[in-house]
């Protein structure tokens, strides 16, 4: 198993691990990945992946509008709100 780039993984997950914890998680991940590595010995060359045990087709709805929730209900849990917007520090693109 290759080394785990904990910085890259935590970046993907939008987590900023305190430096003293990086090693803790890195080791923990290594252990777990090693533990699950036994799957590699299973011959699955003739097996299709199983996404969901209910292997039916997706359920569908007709293209109809139902009332959307009120703006206040949508915003009622917002940490910061300005008028009817969610408010965040400026996004730099």
């Amino acid at each position: 198993m290759s080394d785990i780039d904990i910085k890259r993984i935590s970046y993907l997950a939008k987590l900023k691990l305190p430096s003293e914890k990086e090693e803790f998680y890195s080791n923990s991940l290594k252990d777990i990945i090693k533990w699950v590595d036994n799957l590699k010995k299973v011959d699955t060359s003739k097996t299709e992946p199983l996404h969901n045990v209910t292997e039916k087709t997706v359920s569908i709805r007709n293209d109809e509008v139902s009332k959307s929730n009120s703006v206040d209900d949508v915003l009622s849990n917002a940490p910061e709100r300005a008028q009817n917007f969610f408010k965040v520090p400026k996004v730099v693109e």
Binding site: K14, T57, V58, S59, E64, V74, F85, K90
Partner: protein
């Protein structure tokens, strides 16, 4: 310098589908509402909310499949594309990745006198994101989630395009087709159709260079500017001994320049995987077949029909098929009237479109006036009124000021086509014109025009010129 260079372009066009509700939620798919007005708890990514697929989107994708010559895949799978952005409430976008609904299509575009086939790799359904508004406050951005979940069809071409003009041609053709099959309103200003441009440069005949992607262009003008700027930028870098870095670029509409998006510490890794909240889409052949008749006539079908059945000139036919509403208006008039289609078409692309343009109207707005218009055209083609009188009355008809026949009476524009009456006028006009009569008989055709003019003047312009001509000739040849 740039003579030896050529550009290689592939496009990702995002078309918003004009369904009533969103891709996975039943909130309204509507532009221009108040902030966060069209948002339900699914759209805002509340805990425990689940997507339910809107079959209307599948129908529209299938129609697009027929129009763009795609393989329509019976099996497609929605996956999650994972990344963080404030206007992406779930922290992932539901999209199709490994199994898109459409694959391997093409369209033909016109390049000069030739046609070029542009191959399209795939088209897949996905959710649109919300909008971050940056210009209200210097320190804050404001998030409006109305657009979240709007269905998008992302149409991904092969890198078959090699100039800004071709790109514009390609997008125009796509837009025209999507509007014809009624799946997208084509409104680029409102973002209903947006393009990401993947551009690389190479010396002619050499292999492909590193490409940069210019994101989110929503007007033909910007697309052209961005392509031209980026083309030159890349050439300058290579000529200066540099290398092109694969980058995502933004186009700054105020400066006309492209620039790399804020550099990312790590490259994107979207970690696609099948959305466990949704099951695969499995369509039956019957479901697909049922949608075929809904596609209707495509622009090329209409073009051929106009030439073959109505004998229209190519240029006029092209103008009419350019937009579906033009064609609809034209065909409505044909179906309601016995005036020759060619005559209708000439008036449509001439005075009628000029009126629409002058008054900033929608072509559709004339749909309830077609009867009056064709009545007027009937009067003109039957010589009840002159062409000139027709032009005078047309704006009044289009403004709804009255029925053509009434207007003709009111304005006294009816042509005199009573030969007895005209004969009198002509006879009077010829009195004292012996010299000119002799000139005519001596072979001077110009004199005929003089006499016609004189007669018209005597009828105050209402004499039927054709008839006057005819009678004059008879008289003069005596």
């Amino acid at each position: 310098m740039s003579n030896n260079w050529e550009m290689v372009i592939g496009l990702e066009v995002h078309a918003q589908l004009k369904t009533s509700s969103k891709l996975f939620s039943s909130s309204p798919n509507q532009f221009g509402s108040d902030p966060n007005e069209n948002v339900n708890f699914i759209d805002s990514g509340m805990p425990g909310m689940l997507p339910v697929m809107n079959f209307g989107c599948i129908e529209m994708a299938i129609k697009t499949g027929y129009a763009l010559n795609f393989n329509i895949n019976k099996h497609s799978v929605f996956e999650r594309k994972n990344y963080f952005y404030p206007d992406l409430p779930q922290g992932y976008q539901i999209s199709q990745f490994e199994f898109p609904i459409l694959s391997e299509g093409y369209i033909n575009i016109e390049t000069g006198d030739n046609q070029k086939k542009i191959r399209i790799e795939r088209a897949h359904l996905e959710q649109d994101a919300g909008k971050s508004i940056h210009d209200i406050d210097p320190k804050y951005s404001f998030i409006d989630l109305n657009r979240v979940g709007t269905p998008l069809l992302e149409i991904v071409s092969y890198p078959d395009l090699s100039s800004a003009d071709e790109v514009i041609n390609y997008i125009s053709s796509l837009r025209q087709l999507l509007m014809y099959i009624d799946v997208c309103d084509g409104n680029m200003q409102e973002g209903s159709l947006r393009a990401d441009v993947n551009l690389s440069v190479r010396k002619k005949g050499q292999e492909l260079g590193t490409r940069c992607e210019i994101k989110n262009l929503n007007s033909f003008k910007f697309i052209k500017q961005a392509i031209e700027y980026e083309f030159q930028r890349q050439i300058n870098i290579i000529d200066g001994g540099g290398e092109i870095e694969q980058n995502t670029m933004l186009f700054d509409t105020s400066t006309g320049e492209t620039r790399a998006m804020r550099s990312k510490e790590f490259s994107h890794d979207y970690r696609y995987f099948p959305d466990p909240d949704l099951l695969p889409v499995n369509l039956s052949q019957e479901q697909i077949d049922k949608i075929k008749p809904l596609v209707g006539e495509l622009p090329q079908d209409k073009f051929n029909k106009y030439l073959d059945n109505y004998s229209l000139d190519k240029d006029i036919a092209k103008i009419i098929i350019a937009e579906k509403q033009n064609a609809n208006l034209f065909e409505k008039m044909i179906s309601e009237s016995t005036v020759k289609p060619k005559f209708i078409a000439a008036w449509l692309v001439g005075d009628i479109f000029a009126f629409i343009k002058e008054n900033n109207l929608e072509v559709n707005s004339l749909n309830d006036k077609t009867k009056d218009i064709t009545d007027l055209l009937r009067l003109i083609s039957d010589d009840v009124i002159s062409n000139k009188a027709g032009k005078e009355i047309l704006p009044k008809v289009l403004n709804g000021e009255g029925k053509p026949s009434e207007l003709v009476k009111e304005l006294g524009l009816e042509q005199v086509s009573d030969s007895g009456e005209l004969e009198k006028v002509i006879d009077e006009a010829l009195v004292g014109e012996e010299e000119n009569i002799l000139k005519f008989q001596g072979g001077s055709d110009r004199v005929l025009g003089y006499f016609v003019g004189k007669c018209l003047k005597a009828t105050k312009g209402k004499g039927n010129p054709k008839l006057i001509n005819k009678i004059l000739l008879e008289r003069l040849k005596k």
